[in-house]
């Protein structure tokens, strides 16, 4: 993915529904960050937001993951241009 393809860095909770982003930084406490990484949601993972602002529903590696607002605020993503359905994995 060329660097120009990335746009703004936003918190996951701010990613609009339907948009895809790449995780670029985890800012929560250490234990949370490690758990997120262990679940394959770490830096460089592609995430597609399905719905939600307060509680977010996302698709990561084909798995639907629910995150509360605090968790979604702790995950910084770089937004990617829209991908065809299924490509987010």
């Amino acid at each position: 993915m060329p660097a120009s393809a990335f746009s703004a860095r936003v918190q996951l909770c701010q990613l609009p529904a339907g948009a895809t982003g790449r995780v670029c930084q985890l800012t929560g406490d250490e234990s949370f960050c490690q758990r997120v990484r262990e679940m394959g949601f770490g830096e460089a993972a592609l995430v597609t937001k399905i719905s939600g602002t307060t509680t977010s529903l996302c698709l990561v590696n084909g798995t639907r993951i629910a995150l509360n607002h605090r968790a979604a605020m702790s995950i910084m993503v770089e937004t990617l241009p829209a991908l065809p359905a299924g490509k987010a994995e």
């Binding site: 250490e30 262990e38 629910a66 490509k87």
Partner: protein, 712 residues
């Protein structure tokens, strides 16, 4: 840098159990990957399964049979994403694998159950398990779900790459079980030949910690290495090492490396996880072929409605309304049938026996007491049918998702809602389900408030009071259901209010993070649901036939003796003179401000054993009072009951007050015992009894006194 060859050997080696005894297998895997379904299929047991993460929170042991007819012990363990345990249920998995549990043999071999549709993430745990140096079989489960998601997972390819048996299976359909049994029956299993590179900067730390754990903490070498890797992934030593403190030497090494990495500004803990995923990536690329690009799945389309910020709440409300309405509308006919049969049986016994204490014991004590409880069996079954539907379809996790927002207002998160929702059926599994909550304070708050959710044991009390309050079959079911909903809502409001108070006083802390997997929707498994209903129904009847029967007999005795010398005394005077009556009169000054008399007081005391015992106690006491008049339903006996001055006892206000008392009061010995076990202290169950029963008294006092002031 390669790890020592004895850890992840490059050459194929074969191992068998140390002696001639049959090997012990542990079954491990991510949450909700079908471990317990597979365990049940292998052992013939019927452990609870459900389509949401965290159904299994404790180990279960069963016996499978090899192809040669030899017994094989299988241990089903709670699901975990990693050996770096962060919640009590995950700690069970780690401790059993590390041989730290005195009550469980250390497994000789490990079956890693892997969700084929989520191969990459599932292989992370497998990768950690391979570090333990034990023979591993991979059960590649849910192959049908992977195919539905447009993936073809090649088990042979994975087996070739890892060098260990990989069996494709669909536990839910019984596919692949023969092959898995064959693999388990092998006398020797190869060790994995897969190896991975620990980052160069981390390898000396691993080696140093491993040596210290072996020399100073008495860990076997392979366990020491796995533990060293965990300590470097999670610096919380108590979380990794358990309650047994690490030696000063190991602490010193860990502190040294932590400070050094902090000084370098390097996050090697994260790098360790990344390096595992870097090793897993090529395996997945080898084994998984995408057969087609997948658009939005069926689950995505359903989630678009059920997780919608508006429609999600509408559906949630509709499900709850359907549940409560069904309890009244569907259960009426079977309930009347049971009621009629119990009454007819009581009459038959009365006619067949000579008058005397034995006949009174059978009709007033046993049939009256037990019969008054078992007529609520249909409602209990309907409640468990709905709970089973929610659990098997995958809606349970969605309910937690929807409830996250209100839960966050009181300082908890949606994950706490799954134990709370389970507590609608029974607080005991609900409290055990809190083991999935990572934060200790949040877990304790959830345990403390869970018994406020109206469980199935309250159902008989509510139903009896509603029948007294709204007599006759002409009252629409919707009105009765409305009062029931009000009681459930009051309990839920209590949960939120007390959680809010506790999170701001006793258990202050930042709102917790929540990250939770939502499983794909699945059609309801009616066989499982029916079996679970039958189990719960049988448990209810068993309680009625044992505990409630015993209490009925004791209560009949206490309500009948000592006899009044005056043979012309009324039944009410006789009960008032009895042991139970004397105890009730002692309690009456405390409960009179709530509108309750001494007879209700007896019910309150006896129902501390279990809430439904209240109905049984009332059945015995009012059965004795109305002994001359056959077949008086309890609700009619209630309507006849009066205070000494002639005023009716069970006014609508008293019926409501009694229901409110049972919404809040901690009337369940089994729950007290489970809270003691889960918190490892008497402090919290005693606190729970105090705050819940105190709240019950206060709420009833306010309700009754205000109601009286308004002339009710």
């Amino acid at each position: 840098m390669k790890l020592p060859s004895h850890i992840t050997p490059s050459a194929r080696r074969r191992t068998g159990p140390a002696s001639d005894r049959s090997p012990v297998y542990a079954m491990v895997g991510n949450p909700n990957c079908g471990k317990t379904t597979l365990f049940n299929a292998l052992t013939g047991l019927r452990q609870k399964v459900g389509n949401y993460p965290g159904v299994t929170v404790e180990k279960k042991i069963g016996t499978a049979w090899s192809q040669h007819g030899k017994p094989i012990q299988v241990i089903d363990l709670p699901g975990a994403y990693s050996l770096a345990a962060r919640s009590p249920d995950e700690a069970v998995l780690r401790d059993v694998l590390f041989g730290r549990r005195e009550d469980t043999p250390q497994p000789d071999r490990i079956i890693c159950v892997v969700d084929a549709a989520n191969l990459e993430r599932n292989l992370y745990l497998v990768h950690q398990v391979l570090d333990l140096g034990r023979p591993v079989i991979i059960a590649l489960n849910m192959m049908d779900m992977a195919a539905a998601a447009g993936m073809k997972v090649d088990a042979a390819e994975l087996e070739g790459a890892l060098g260990i048996p990989v069996v494709a299976c669909e536990a839910v359909h019984g596919k692949g079980l023969v092959e898995l049994r064959l693999a388990m029956s092998r006398a020797e299993l190869p060790l994995a030949r897969h190896s991975w590179d620990v980052p160069v900067a981390v390898a000396p730390a691993v080696a140093e910690l491993q040596a210290s754990l072996t020399d100073h903490d008495g860990r076997p070498p392979l366990i020491a290495r796995a533990e060293a890797l965990l300590l470097l992934t999670d610096f919380d030593t108590v979380r990794v090492a358990g309650s047994k403190p690490l030696s000063g030497r190991t602490h010193g090494i860990l502190d040294h490396w932590r400070r050094r990495w902090e000084g370098e500004g390097a996050d090697w803990a994260a790098a360790l996880i990344r390096s595992r995923y870097e090793a897993i990536g090529p395996l997945c690329r080898q084994a998984v072929v995408r057969t087609r690009e997948q658009g939005p799945s069926r689950s995505d389309r359903i989630d678009a409605v059920l997780c919608h910020s508006v429609w999600g709440w509408v559906v949630f409300g509709a499900i709850m309304a359907a549940l409560f309405f069904s309890i009244f509308s569907l259960a009426e006919a079977p309930m009347n049938f049971i009621d009629g049969r119990v009454a007819a049986f009581g009459s038959w016994v009365k006619d067949a026996m000579l008058a005397g204490p034995l006949r009174d014991l059978l009709t007033d004590g046993i049939i009256g007491g037990v019969g008054s409880v078992i007529i609520f069996l249909p409602q209990i079954l309907i409640l468990f049918f709905f709970v089973g539907l929610l659990e098997s379809t995958g809606y349970m996790a969605r309910a937690a998702f929807i409830m996250d927002r209100p839960m966050s207002k009181v300082g908890l998160n949606g994950r706490s809602f799954i134990p709370l929702l389970g507590s609608y059926a029974c607080a005991i599994p609900g409290i055990m389900a809190t083991r999935t909550i990572e934060n200790a304070k949040d877990r304790l708050v959830t345990i403390l408030v869970a018994p406020l959710m109206s469980c199935s044991a309250r159902l008989p009390v509510y139903l009896l009071m509603i029948a007294t309050l709204l007599p006759g079959d002409t009252v629409p079911a919707g009105r009765k259901a409305g009062i029931m909903v009000l009681m459930y809502a009051l309990g839920t409001l209590g949960v939120f209010s007390f959680a809010w108070v506790f999170k701001r006083t006793l258990f202050k802390g930042a709102p917790p993070h929540m990250i939770m997997e939502l499983p794909p929707y699945q059609p309801p498994r009616f066989m499982e649901i029916t079996r679970h209903m039958a189990e719960r129904g049988w448990l209810f009847l068993k309680n009625a036939g044992t505990i409630i029967l015993a209490i009925s007999i004791v209560l009949w005795f206490l309500s009948t003796y000592p006899k009044l010398p005056n043979p012309d005394a009324t039944k009410t005077e006789q009960i008032a003179h009895s042991f139970a009556g004397q105890a009730g009169h002692l309690l009456e000054p405390v409960i009179k401000p709530l509108g309750f008399d001494w007879r209700i007081g007896i019910g309150l005391i006896t129902s501390f054993a279990a809430r439904e015992v209240f109905v049984n106690s009332m059945g015995v006491i009012f059965g004795i009072e109305n002994a001359e008049d056959d077949n008086v339903p309890l609700r009619d006996a209630f309507r006849r009951a009066t205070w000494p001055g002639g005023a009716p006892l069970f006014t609508p206000l008293v019926c409501l007050s009694l229901m409110v008392y049972y919404v809040f009061a901690m009337q369940c010995m089994s729950t007290v015992a489970v809270v003691k076990r889960e918190t490892n202290s008497w402090r919290w169950p005693l606190f729970q009894i105090g705050y819940m029963t105190g709240t019950a008294w206060l709420a009833c006092f306010i309700l009754y006194q205000i109601g009286r002031a308004f002339g009710y």
